[in-house]
Symmetry: none
Subunit: 265 residues, 2 copies
């Protein structure tokens, strides 16, 4: 762990705490949020489960980060140096391994595709996302650049396959969705793409440049913002889709009507 200034240390600790607050609040909201018909309740409940799991892991990450550093006072200036306790990266991978496949469950559940079609697409997405996370971890804990690139490349194969399923196979299925929510569904898919891109890019930067203090701060902040976006932000989109579809099916106008780009493939 690189030595951090007191501002850098505080920044990381504070952003980790904000993740606990945001993800915890999102979890509760998805469990009790009103206006969802039974048909879409599962999708929103799974969003809540994902955020609850992430809240637990952010408590662990926060504690692990804080105890990995010790305050070092020299004269009037305070810095934070490695305490000797390990900062455990596995909490992040454990979290992703459980939650990322569940994010796919949310999406497929809210689409309410015909049973057989939904089952097939979901199976592909769940296996590919779990594989994507699992293949990243051996590289993450290695400090050998060759090993790191090997696992990065292996992990990118299921990642690209997931994007193919989301944008090509699922794209075909989206034409069956009500016009009013297609924009939201497309946005949910794009949020997935953009927020997930952060992880392999951060990994690659770490492999090439290593991590100095600024790098460590940037990667912790980046992971945290990406996680909040991919779980709480994406979950809110799933909630908005579920709520609008519930309303449409009761003959009410949708809450939010979005004009997305054409979705047909």
């Amino acid at each position: 762990m690189p030595e951090l200034t007191s501002i850098q240390f505080g920044f990381v600790a504070n952003i980790l705490s904000m993740a606990i607050a945001t993800l915890g609040a999102a979890a509760i909201f998805f469990f009790v949020g009103p206006g969802i018909s039974p048909k879409y309740k599962l999708a929103v409940t799974v969003s809540g489960v994902v955020c609850a799991i992430a809240t637990y892991h952010y408590f662990r990450i926060y504690d692990s980060f804080v105890s990995a550093y010790a305050m070092n006072q020299v004269g009037g200036s305070v810095t934070y140096v490695a305490s000797g306790m390990v900062f455990n990266d596995f909490y992040r991978y454990a979290d992703w391994f459980i939650t990322v496949p569940l994010l796919m469950v949310e999406l497929v559940a809210v689409l309410a595709l015909p049973r057989e079609q939904g089952r097939k697409i979901l199976l592909k997405l769940v296996i590919a996302t779990a594989l994507m996370v699992a293949l990243g971890y051996p590289g993450e804990i290695s400090s050998d650049s060759g090993t790191r690139w090997l696992w990065w490349t292996l992990s990118m194969i299921p990642f690209i396959y997931v994007l193919y399923v989301l944008y090509v196979e699922l794209g075909r299925a989206l034409t069956t969705q009500p016009q009013e929510v297609r924009g939201l569904i497309n946005l949910a898919r794009n949020v997935t793409l953009v927020s997930w891109m952060f992880y392999p890019i951060a990994y690659a930067i770490k492999t090439v440049y290593g991590l100095d203090a600024n790098g460590e701060v940037a990667i912790q902040a980046g992971y945290t913002v990406a996680d909040i976006t991919a779980k709480a932000g994406y979950g809110l989109l799933i909630y908005a889709i579920a709520r609008s579809k519930s309303r449409l099916e009761m003959g009410l106008p949708a809450d939010v009507v979005t004009k997305g780009p054409a979705l047909a493939h």
Copy 2:
């Protein structure tokens, strides 16, 4: 951190603990409180989420305050002196940054304005309140009086804009609300104004006079009372409005009938 008497230290710790109890209880009440029709459930649920987020932050603030002090026994007398651990002000700002825009969501949701009008007013309020909190923080952590006044002034611009939207733009919209709840809505707006005034005033006093022991105690107690009022108290008003509107729309008399001042502009 100024040295505190044992009574001063206990007073702050106790009031922080009361905030945890009050906000936590309010959160639970808003999640399960009865008599709210589906149309107004979202407003009350968001009140619960706000209080849950604040409860989390008060746990952190309590722990941070207690560990920032060490008991100092000299002869028979006990005082509390700075332990060297940082008392982290960021928890308050993190809390406000997330919750203050959500307080605006509660208000706009309970009014149930026509879709387009509600969306426009909410967007203005959410952006302005987030900006108001974010612009306060750089000044809060500075000890330079010029820097503190600069950020205070910048933060006051969105604050005044929020008051303009609440009292002028929203004032016009209030004429569409049932007579029976106009007094409550006006009260909710005034509670916002009065409780929010505490923050810039406390900040300004700190800038001019610095904080001795009494000042530190007053500011911690003041922030805490303002937070309880602006979240749990205001949330109760939102609950009363939601409940009365739910009853009126079912053809029942409102729970509480308040005679507010004329709201037209």
